[in-house]
């Protein structure tokens, strides 16, 4: 399993789905571990009731069907399916509405879905916030710079029980992205990758779960975007300039 994760860490992020299916066939006994540890690009289905898209994940799946957060119905229909309690469903509806506006403001497009379910072990609940954005010029790219551009974000929050008017939130976030520009003079330029981070916070219950979860996610997304931009992309640029230093660095060398 460790070796399998070692392979996933090195194989090109754009080919991680091929790598995962190869590993699943080589290590069928580890399939549940692999599926939970290797993040895959998000898939979308259309809710037949309202015509809106919703995102598929382990958290809205029952057998081979997926529950839409809009109509609360499974696609394809399923008998005796699992649903969140009516109280959680109410919060889920609110969360989906708020997150839709949040997404429009940060992403200017894309699809989002929020799923909640009871966590019997910890007397709390778990929430999964998902965003999928196609930023290419044929998708939702407002500025039209990208030949290809994808951003998939997965935020899973474990919400603990209320203790002395505070609640413990544990957020695990993954972002997978790829962007490619292509023009005649500079050729193709493509960056792709994935990172996963965790964050723990105790917040007062007074503001409500949705407000607390939203703030944590907003902070985490900002951090992840910044880390990708500054650190990860920055390191690859540094590498290019090590391989072939730009002229000003070459000229500075004799003095240093």
């Amino acid at each position: 399993m460790e070796a399998a994760m070692g392979l996933i860490r090195r194989i090109h992020p754009k080919r991680s789905d091929t790598a995962l299916s190869a590993l699943l066939s080589l290590l069928p006994h580890h399939s549940s571990d692999l599926l939970s540890q290797v993040d895959q690009p998000l898939q979308v289905l259309c809710d037949v009731d309202c015509g809106k898209g919703f995102i598929l994940c382990e958290y809205n799946r029952d057998a081979d069907s997926y529950r839409s957060p809009w109509s609360n119905k499974y696609h394809p229909p399923l008998e005796e399916a699992l649903f969140p309690s009516s109280e959680l469903r109410k919060l889920e509806i609110e969360a989906n509405e708020a997150f839709t506006i949040y997404r429009e403001q940060y992403y200017e497009g894309g699809i989002s879905s929020v799923y909640l379910w009871e966590d019997d072990e910890r007397e709390g609940f778990v929430a999964c916030f998902l965003i999928k954005k196609d930023g290419s010029k044929t998708g939702h790219g407002r500025r039209g710079y990208l030949q290809e551009g994808a951003w998939d974000a997965i935020h899973v929050i474990e919400v603990g029980p209320e203790e002395e008017k505070a609640v413990h939130y544990c957020l695990t976030s993954t972002v997978m992205l790829s962007l490619t520009t292509n023009d005649e003079s500079s050729g193709t330029f493509s960056l792709s990758g994935s990172i996963r981070r965790q964050m723990n916070m105790d917040l007062a219950i007074a503001d409500g779960h949705l407000c607390n979860m939203g703030r944590i996610i907003e902070e985490m997304e900002g951090r992840l975007r910044n880390t990708l931009d500054q650190v990860y992309f920055g390191k690859t640029k540094e590498m290019v300039c090590t391989l072939r230093p730009p002229p000003e660095i070459v000229m500075r060398l004799p003095n240093s």
Partner: protein, 306 residues
Amino acid sequence: MAEEEYYDSELSDKQKKEIAKWFLLNSPAGEIQYIAKDLKSVLNDERVYNEAAQEAFPLYNKSHLISLELPDRSGDVLITPYNELDKNEYLDPRDAQVATVNHVKQVCTEARPAVDEELPSPYIEEYRYALDAEMLKYVGEAYPKGVCSVYCVNGKDVEGPGSNFELVVVISAVKQSPKNFCNGSWRSVWNIEFKDEVQVLVIRGKIQVGAHYFEEGNVQLDAKNECKVETKFQAPEESAHSIANIIRHHEAEYLASLEASYSNLPDTTFKDLRRKLPVTRTLFPWHNTSQFSLTRDIQKELGIGK
């Protein structure tokens, strides 16, 4: 479903070998040995692994233009499709040697003097030698760890003016810093057709740059560029000089365009995936979410209603 699972768990050796080859061939630059190590333990089948490695390593080594140190440490030999004499023998035209390599271990085991048939004619060698000298100078200046070589890929036995021939310049620079979780490679291949009849050189360049940073994540850069330029057919030294100038100029421009792509990221390209700040330029008003039960009104107000 049950049938499928049964089928999956009973992969044939041939299927396993194909999967193993896929992993090896898709290793990032400089990381095939790490992939190989993890792959061996995932496969848990020495024989299948060895078969896959025998087939995948030579292909990987040639496409990544890896350089191997000669046994006497006098220099490096590049592994490319252009100087392959036999599947384990690669010509080093600069020192007129033939290196025998072990692809899987990625080492050069021995070197012998090249025989006349393996080398270009004296007429071609004049052009090759002059270009090699220019490229050595350029690569020494531009790439701290670059290796280059010039091969004749067409018409190596041409004895004098009157016939076409083709040289290829290969530049390969690799940087590995596994401790910093960072690896990268720059590969350029420049084909130069010497067209005798029309007294023209047709130069075609292909540059491929890759970088991988994987500390607590996995981010990769892939960049590619191709170009075509024509120039006059001249005497060996003059030709070499003008070819080297074209390569120098184009590669410097390409590096500048890579830097420009990076500096465009924050405000243009990356912004199309996710903005740094919302369109409102203030953090999202999560404390007001109770009002979102009136979502429709707010959507109308923000002008984002469907």
